[in-house]
Amino acid sequence: MRSIIKSSIATAVLALFFVACTDILEEQPRSIFEPGFFKTEQGVNGGLTSLYAHLRYIYGNAYWYNAGVTGTDEATYAQSADANFKVMDISGQGNITPTVPGGSTNLWDNAFPAINTASGIIENASAVGLSASLIAEARFFRAFEYFMLVQTYGGVPLDMGAGELKFNINPARNSVRNTVPDVYTKAIFPDLLTAVNDLPDVGRLTGTVTKTVARLFLSKAYLTYAWWLQNTNNIPTYPDAARTDPDGHDAAWYFQQAFDVATTAIDNPGPYGLVSTFYDVNVGSNDRNKEILFYADHTQSSEKYTGASLTYGSGGNADNFASWMMTWNYTEIRSAKNADGTVATPTVLREASQDLGRPWTRMAPTIQAFVNTFADKTNDSRFDGTFTTVYRGNWTKGTDKTAFYYGANGLQVYPGDPILTFLPDEPLIPITYTTGAGPSNVGGGTLPGRADYVISPSGISRVTYPGTWKLSTYRTDNAGGLGQPNASITRPFPIAKFSELYFIAAEAAVKGATTTTGKSAYDLINVIRARAGKWKFNRAANVAKTDDYSAAMTAATPATPATIDLNYILAERSREYYGEGYRWFDLVRTQKWGELAATYRIASATKGDHTAVTVTRSIQPYHYLRPIPQSQIDGMEATADEKAAFQNPGY
């Protein structure tokens, strides 16, 4: 009896739990966000931040950088290049294909989520009560992404699954590409015009977009579209479209618009402007200066918020590691411990400094960069402000405290002395190069009386070439030592500069836009050149230098308007923006890629080889568009014909 009562009570107590909790079927997440969050104010603000954050996946990414620079007159592939770098050179080392696209996929992979997020903000923002200027930031990003897409791939889809320019949360597995004029007239121009109108003059936070940024991209979009309409060199477009503007204007109208918008931006700079010297534009200690309008930010202060390791960068998506590509392996330089040349020791160690950095040796500058583009190295401070030509001994920053080593000609070298120098010009006496790597271990030659090994411009090779300085590492926490050279670069990666407004206006002027007083192509380019004549620091000599050669620079500019031609503007662009990722886009827009990059000279990847050879590129008209990535084609649910039609011709 007792046991029955006991077990009944026990059962009854337990049965209280019987009360069916049907609300256990409801879900309430407490640590994740779902798309409904975008309808709240925090969600919309978070969406805006993610738009800025996505920039890191494209700008600063080495593979996207490769797509913008390799294969142009500025650079080619280097000794450690793999197929992704070699195919971009279009010189017989393999073809660019949808499966080996050389880094041009970074944009395709990252642009559409950003466009979708921007559309989501624009749609939800009014419900949430977001200010017009914040909505304008989203519009700017949407237009900016479409502008980059249309330059790279041709026409792209405006409808992501919920209608044109609508926020999509449907699992859309098919896609239709709009034509180039559709993308410009439906997406890029309307969004940028609203952005120019609604964005503030001064950014709400450091680095957020403003009127001037929107004006720069609007004028550049007008310029690029005008070229497309004109199509002087008959470069095909895809999807097929006639070269007429749906809004009824012609190329001349757009060139004029480009000129007008650019000059308005120059005249209403707001907080922006040109900094006083070219050195100041790119030196690490002056990051986020008034000339850099738009950048993908990083910081040394927080590993979490910089999105990359502060000690060892893996070369992953959000890292800033583009500059490593055109950095050769200077750590292989050796000096001799003994006077007889024995005991080769490294004397230029890997250091987290803007001169040095982490060498990946995937890309190399062409010889014409030194001989043609930067012909003037004396008056024009830009050569010295672009390349690292002197490699100085820094061994005492590590554990080696040896007082001195022996360099070329058995002469002694001390910490801070040049160990290897890339001469700016051909020397009067020919350099004596060793065979193979030689005592310098990198094939450096000797000149009488010099303790440093030397290489002249004609001897630049795929394995030994001057380094690039502008985008390189800069840290303030090295504490006098070598620091963390392998870390991802903690500097913002520049996307657009105030100086480009001058170039856009000058190019529009050369293409027939009516100019205003003081703003002819000659005047505009001379502003840039005059500034380039002002020195602050001579990096090659490692001393301050405050000479002002602006007068000489402007005097050297071709005097009559007729001789400021397109080729001259393109050459000036290369002098100003060498190795910053612009070149392919500039050459493709002006349809000069096949002409200016047809051949280049460089010595081979064998150490000690300094005999330059001429390499021919076989750039075809279809190369002016990059391939749609194979992952997009594979991911679509479409017939084989539809898939083939989605891909750009030739791929």
């Binding site: 059962t11 107590v13 337990l14 909790c21 049907t22 256990i24 079927l25 879900e27 997440p29 407490r30 640590s31 966000f33 779902e34 798309p35 969050f37 969600g43 978070g46 969406g47 805006l48 931040t49 738009l51 954050a53 890191r56 793999d82 197929a83 070699k86 080392q93 393999g94 073809n95 294909t97 395709w108 559409f112 989520p113 979708n116 792209v156 992501m160 949360i169 699992p171 450091t206 957020t208 930010d297 990083h298 910081t299 202060s301 927080s302 590993e303 979490k304 918020y305 999105g307 000690t311 750590t331 292989e332 620091g483 392998n486 992952s631 997009q632 084609i633 594979d634 991911g635 679509m636």
Partner: protein, 744 residues
């Protein structure tokens, strides 16, 4: 897993081996009906030792001492071989701390033998009214990592006989589980970096899980007229599982003594991770009737309805039936004279089971976060959509047809079962990748239908039954399963983006087909592989040819082929021989056919870059004087950091024969000790002794056991995450154990 009747959320190795009385595996739909959707992939029933009523107190002791050696080190090139590789690649030269005449075997320095000691003492017994079981164990294993956890699994139940109806009982069971895990880690300054001043880091994390389960069971069990056995069951069950976790990491630990115990005092950046919370619930109703006539014919019918919180509203409930019939042929009158057959039973069944194995909140979609800095001091977190909501996400369910025969012959000296099944899984739940132009990367959906069909045979025989003191038993089981994707919800035949191909295994591999190495003078190299070189991997070309015999295009994505991974046959075997108290037994497994994927040999790990940049596994590579090699020339064309098409080198023939344990034991009962209550056994066991007939083991020397999912334990990329691979993980071990079992 079900532990003594209650669904168990822990892992099998949390249960002490000595406590396990029996393990049963349930596979068909009818048997798993009582467990519902959790049993969709089968049920493991574990019954533990409990004391029995009236049993005299019994003490058991078992002790073990073992040495664990690694099965095989990674087969890395030694100094001279690496020097040759670097020279053949012609890409890298020695750095300041490398020289050609150095030859260090790092693995030899790194790996030590592991020592494992364990002691378990148990006490069990019973009184007239109840039973008890108590145990304590000690395990010291120098191989395991430091992590402290606490788990407790409890259940209470109450049972009441309904007085008015004979055979009717009502029982309520409440199960409550709680698990907690704390982890801490500390890395001192300069450790694991080539810079001695690299900042120190530390982190802690906590995981809590609670689970409650309540079952209300009404059962009726009665024998009518001596021949009709009826058992009926009605069940209502509710289940909820909640987990949450948090963690903190810091840099710049002020004192080595602090380790991870005082992160708040760190000098550098302190970050708290986003933390996690997950809760999911299940409600079920089930009714079952079993009818057995005279121990000869039986039929079972079940109907069950489940609802799960992880599925979309409107699709949360699923109702499914199961029916099975059995015929105990042996009990028929015509079988009574056939003495050779001791047992013969035929069974057939049809049933549905459902599966809701997707993560909680999958129907809601997901935003991911990206941190960003504006300048050096302003920080913010951004959000963007990475997974779409799916308001139509419903149950995945399987329809299984099975037929089986159980038999025992020759005085039960030979027994076995043969079983054949077809299982169609519909509305398969998987993550579906979307093309970039949709703006979102994936969503979880019911994507299609697969079929698994197969045959299983198991045999057990007593070959010698105490013949002059010799006893020999052996058992073998064989099975063959074919998995096939029948249809995709999208109607496609091929979905290359997700790796799904109708007509093939759902985890098929989609890659180029390796047909050797390009030799010097092989025709059409410049057409098929522009920029290529002799010595690179040659893959099959499936395109067209011009009338003059030249290929029309270069090799590209259209030349990828589908590689099926189903083995032809798999199985296990065991055998035990004993003579007067000495016994020798072994257990092993085998596979014929199938594919073993080793990411070690491919482009995802950094062990086979072949460029001379890092240490490399020992591979036979092509050079102009070694043209018969399988691996490509190190100086050839690269994609990423590896030779082109190196992924084709990671697929090995999956056949193997593996011995899992060999054990020699000695039972002292007969020889030394006459006390009837005392039992003692000594044994020596080798675990994982050897592997035979494996292409992977012959080439690499390593164990064929997979140890990673496709995208785990790789440096970059990887293969499809659902495929199991041999990846870069702690190597498996061969263990030598001496032990003693004592009962008194």
């Amino acid at each position: 897993m079900v532990l003594d009747g209650i669904p168990f959320i822990g892992s099998l190795n949390e249960i002490n081996n000595d406590d396990i009385k029996s393990i049963d595996i349930l596979k068909d739909a009818s048997a798993t009906a009582i467990y519902g959707s959790r049993g969709a992939n089968g049920v493991i029933l574990i019954t533990t030792n409990r004391g029995e009523k009236g049993q005299k107190a019994k003490v058991t002791y078992s002790g073990r001492q073992g040495i664990n050696k690694i099965f095989a080190p990674y087969p890395m090139m030694d100094g001279p071989e690496f020097v040759a590789l670097r020279a053949a690649s012609a890409r890298y030269t020695n750095g300041p701390d490398e020289a050609d005449n150095i030859n260090t075997d790092w693995q030899n320095l790194f790996f030590r033998n592991g020592l494992q000691t364990s002691h378990d003492i148990g006490l069990s017994g019973g009184t007239a009214n109840g039973a008890y079981n108590f145990g304590v164990g000690y395990l010291k294993d120098k191989w395991l990592s430091q992590s402290r956890g606490y788990s407790t699994y409890n259940s209470i139940y109450g049972e009441v006989k309904i007085p008015w109806v004979k055979g009717l009982k009502y029982r309520t069971t409440l199960g409550l589980d709680f698990m907690q895990d704390n982890n801490g880690s500390y890395t001192a300054e300069g450790v694991g970096s080539d810079n001695a001043t690299t900042i120190s880091t530390a982190s802690i994390s906590n995981y809590h899980t609670t689970h409650w389960n309540i079952q209300n069971l009404l059962s009726f069990d009665r024998l009518f007229a001596g021949k009709h056995q009826i058992n009926a069951v009605a069940l209502y069950e509710a289940d909820q599982y909640t987990s949450f976790n948090s963690g903190t990491a810091a840099k710049g630990i002020p004192s080595e003594a602090f380790q991870f115990y005082s992160l708040g005092q760190s000098l550098g950046e302190i970050t708290t991770n986003s933390g996690g919370y997950s809760q999911n619930g299940l409600i079920s109703y089930m009714g079952r009737i079993m009818y057995e006539y005279n121990n000869k014919y039986m039929i079972t019918a079940t109907i069950r309805a489940d609802a799960s919180s992880v599925l979309a509203v409107g699709h949360q409930w699923h109702t499914y039936p199961a029916i099975s019939a059995g015929w105990n042929i042996k009990n028929e009158s015509f079988m009574q004279n056939i003495s050779i057959i001791d047992r013969l039973k035929l069974r057939a069944g049809y049933g549905q089971t459902s599966n809701q194995a997707v993560a909680a909140y999958s129907t809601l979609g997901r935003l991911s976060s990206r941190d960003y800095n504006f300048g050096n001091t302003t920080y913010a977190t951004g959000y963007y959509v990475t997974q779409l909501p799916n308001p139509n996400l419903g149950w995945e369910y399987s329809e299984t047809y099975n037929v089986g025969l159980d038999f025992a012959l020759l005085n039960s000296r030979l027994s076995g079962t043969v079983e054949y099944y077809i299982s169609n899984t519909k509305d398969l739940l998987l993550s579906l990748g979307l093309p970039q132009t949709s703006g979102v990367s994936s969503y979880t959906a019911n994507i299609g239908e697969t079929r698994n069909k197969g045959i299983e045979i198991s045999l057990r025989g007593t070959i010698l039954d105490n013949v002059s003191g010799w006893t020999w038993e052996a058992g073998v089981n064989l099975y063959r399963n074919r998995n096939e994707l029948i249809a995709l919800a999208s109607g496609q035949i091929k979905d290359e983006g997700n790796g799904w191909f109708v007509g093939h295994n759902i985890n098929a591999i989609y890659d180029y087909k390796n047909i050797g190495i390009w030799q010097i003078d092989d025709p059409y190299l410049s057409i098929l592989e522009p920029g290529g070189n002799a010595g690179m991997i040659k893959v099959q070309y499936s395109g067209d040819f011009n009338p003059d015999g030249t290929p029309t295009r270069q090799i590209g994505s259209a030349d990828r082929v589908i590689l099926d991974v189903d083995p032809d046959l798999q199985g296990g075997f065991d055998s035990r021989v004993s003579f007067k108290g000495i016994d020798l037994s072994f257990i092993g497994g085998f596979q014929i056919g199938g594919v073993l994927v080793s990411t070690l040999n491919g482009p995802s790990s950094y062990l086979n870059l072949m460029t001379g940049r890092r240490g490399n596994i020992k591979v036979d590579y092509w050079t102009p004087t070694n043209t018969g090699a399988r691996y490509p020339a190190p100086s050839g064309v690269l994609v990423g950091d590896n030779p082109k098409y190196l992924s084709t080198m990671q697929y090995f023939n999956g056949s193997y024969l593996k011995m899992r344990t060999i054990s020699l034991g000695y039972d002292l009962n007969q020889a030394l000790i006459k006390t009837p209550d005392l039992r003692m056994r000594l044994y020596f066991t080798v675990q994982n002794p050897f592997v035979l007939f494996s292409e992977f083991t012959s080439e690499m020397g390593m164990d064929t056991e997979t140890n990673s999912y496709g995208n785990q334990n790789v440096a970059t990329g990887g293969v499809n995450s659902r495929i199991l691979t041999v990846g870069f993980n702690a190597p498996s071990t061969r263990n030598y154990v001496i032990g003693v079992n004592l009962t008194f």
